[in-house]
Symmetry: C2
Subunit: 152 residues, 2 copies
């Protein structure tokens, strides 16, 4: 099918539809997460399918994934054809698995803290959190995840 001018969106329209800022979308292009075309005047023109791609980025970010994570996920999409709903569902399911893991990890950390609350051992070598086995491997250069929160 051919694309008519109606199928091409300016960056502001995409921003309005996805909830992303214009500057963030430009940044994502620079990061290689989306690849809009350009019109004669050099302005970006997005396919309607890019809305879904950008929304995916936004959602994954809200779930605490880094753009690197997102890049890896998007790499699993078919290239050449527009992703189908099934493609997106596959990605979402994969994310759910990672979320589940994170929840388990947090629960483990919390339980360790419980152990420490009892023993007051904050500075001792035997403290379960002080001397973590697996979690702490992340110190150094591991991937990191960020989630916004209000703690007022």
């Amino acid at each position: 099918m051919k694309l008519s001018a109606r199928d091409l969106l300016a960056i502001g329209q995409v921003a309005a539809r996805t909830g992303l800022s214009v500057s963030a979308i430009r940044f994502y292009e620079e990061a290689g997460l989306v690849a809009p075309m350009r019109n004669n005047g050099g302005q970006r023109r997005f396919l309607r399918a890019d809305n879904r791609r950008l929304s995916f980025i936004r959602i994954a970010q809200q779930l605490g994934f880094t753009l690197e994570d997102v890049r890896a996920q998007l790499a699993a999409l078919p290239n050449g054809r527009t992703p189908t709903k099934a493609d997106w569902t596959r990605l979402s399911t994969a994310m759910r698995g990672v979320l589940d893991e994170r929840i388990v990890r947090m629960e483990r950390l919390r339980d360790r803290l419980d152990g420490c609350i009892g023993c007051g051992c904050l500075s001792l070598k035997s403290c379960a959190i002080y001397n973590p086995d697996d979690e702490a491997r992340a110190r150094g250069s591991g991937a990191r995840w960020v989630l916004g929160e209000r703690n007022g």
Copy 2:
């Protein structure tokens, strides 16, 4: 009680005991999280009680708290006297509450994602994650939390 030279630790000793790097400890001093004395030569000298304080910082960080969070927690410690085990336990208990909240929040997000997996609505206004109510308030200038992870 008086303090003898044995009670005063050089920064390298504190680093070895707490697992923090020397540069991180200096950074924490600059951030006002710890306040070592200085000897005649201008070198830092830490009280043994500072080990516990610094360990608390390290643990809180591993649990995903920011230094700002830590600063707020430490502000709740008594000033003037060395914190007791009960003081530290109070702090740990407060942290546990925050961790519990976080876990609940993650579970909610995960469940929302489940809803989205089914509907494939990633770009639609009605998507529960796309159009989040409370969580998304963190976008902008909210506090953020970071936890290390390996996702290989």
